[in-house]
């Protein structure tokens, strides 16, 4: 085709399309795509408390590689940063946090002091919450509350902490983590809460995250928090 004269845009558009590198791209493998979609919807449970019974149906057989893809996607999105993760409408009403407010902020972590005289109430993610891959700083950075605190009491179904350092979000001086018996025991065991101990705790939508994101303030977890919340 001559390039000497383009009277019509259509002609130029057609010429440009001759340079389209995706001109012969064949469609995606439907099975692989279905797995990717399922993993996106399921893996997201890791950073959101389970709030729907039917989410459990998303746990059909899945190979470890697929999990890794999903985990990478979750981690990658945390690194994107340009997208504040606004709360979806279906995030569930079981995760109310009086201090956290409706929308998590992942863009501008504020590292500072707890709110004097205030109490933050947290709960624990449901039994259906699944863990994907190893915790990474990029994933941790997505949580809307993260703090360091010392356990002052464990009574009944409540762990009370005194927050000493806030990495992300708004956290009161006193933090009470309450949960039904089952999840509560799981949390005590996984996070290894003991009175007098100092812990790094992160929460999403008012629910304490486990999966390696909360635990005693030392070693690798301390490094993870420092990396996730550099400010």
């Amino acid at each position: 085709m001559s390039t000497s004269d383009f009277e019509h845009d259509d002609e130029l558009r057609a010429l440009l399309r001759g340079g389209d590198p995706a001109g012969s791209l064949s469609p995606a493998d439907p099975a692989a795509l279905a797995m990717l979609l399922e993993d996106i919807m399921s893996a997201d449970l890791d950073v959101r408390p389970v709030d729907e019974g039917d989410r459990a149906t998303g746990t059909r057989g899945r190979n470890p590689l697929a999990w890794l893809v999903a985990a990478a996607a979750v981690a990658a999105i945390a690194a994107v940063g340009g997208f504040a993760i606004s709360g979806l409408g279906d995030n569930g009403g079981d995760a109310d946090s009086p201090v956290a407010g409706p929308g998590p902020s992942v863009v501008a972590p504020d590292h500072g002091a707890p709110l004097a005289g205030q109490t933050t109430d947290l709960t624990v993610g449901g039994a259906g919450t699944k863990c994907v891959a190893e915790p990474t700083a990029a994933m941790l950075a997505q949580y809307d509350q993260a703090f360091e605190g010392t356990v002052t009491s464990i009574e009944g179904d409540t762990v009370t902490l005194e927050a000493t350092d806030v990495y992300q979000g708004e956290v009161g001086e006193t933090v009470q983590v309450q949960a039904p018996a089952g999840p509560f025991q799981t949390m005590i065991q996984q996070v290894k809460f003991e009175v007098g101990g100092t812990y790094l705790v992160s929460a999403w939508q008012g629910a304490v995250s486990m999966c390696g994101f909360s635990g005693p303030a030392s070693g690798d977890l301390q490094k993870l928090y420092t990396e996730a919340f550099p400010h």
Binding site: T3, S4, F6, D9, L12, R13, L15, L16, R17, G18, G19, D20, P21, A22, G23, S24, L25, S26, P27, A28, D29, A32, L33, L36, L37, I40, M41, D44, L65, L68, V69, A70, A71, A72, A73, V74, A75, A76, I77, A79, V80, G81, G82, F83, I85, S86, L88, G89, D90, T136, A138
Partner: protein, 181 residues
């Protein structure tokens, strides 16, 4: 993407959205990056769609292109450590299209686009390859349709000029070669 009803299952809505946008977004990415990065960015883009499902407008595609474009830009200037995990998986289990050799695109087009400013080349790609109108391009780029029209007009002119230079250059080379003893 507007919900058909307030009770509409988000999973179904997401799957419908994905069915609508996955192939166009795969082509969008194949035009702009390597296959491994394209896979990563597709997964990221879909994750953003899932998380922001209630904010996806109708029609969804220009908005989703904008998401993919931002994800790609962030990956290209940021740390690739995490996403390389997925890239390795691509190598283990290559997607079907990886085994096909695409028809080679006209190299003059690539050369002429490369000679333009990146923003101008981007406009022309969105116009000719994604086949978007000025209003849709405006949504992808976050600028006004009027600005798109003006810049597109200018970019088309420069592209034609570059193409002419390339053709002329090829002609001159031929003449010179002919004159060699």
């Amino acid at each position: 993407m507007a919900a058909d009803s307030p009770d509409d299952d988000p999973r179904e809505r997401f799957e419908r959205l994905a069915a609508e946008v996955v192939e166009p977004v795969r082509r969008f990415l194949a035009r702009r990056t390597d296959p491994a990065t394209a896979d990563d960015v597709l997964a990221e883009t879909l994750l953003v769609c899932w998380r922001r499902l209630d904010q996806v407008p109708e029609p969804a595609l220009p908005w989703v292109y904008g998401v993919a474009r931002n994800c790609l830009a962030n990956i290209q200037r940021g740390d690739r450590r995490q996403v390389r995990l997925a890239a390795k998986i691509t190598a283990v289990d290559p997607p079907q299209e990886a085994v096909h050799e695409p028809d080679p695109p006209d190299p003059r087009i690539e050369a002429a686009l490369a000679a333009l400013r990146p923003e101008e080349a981007d406009l022309l790609r969105l116009w000719a390859w994604e086949q978007l109108g000025p209003g849709e391009i405006a949504e992808v780029l976050g600028i006004t349709p009027n600005a798109v029209s003006i810049r597109l007009h200018r970019a088309r002119g420069k592209f034609v000029e570059q193409l002419r230079k390339i053709d002329d250059g090829a002609g001159h080379e031929g003449v010179r070669e002919g004159r060699e003893p």
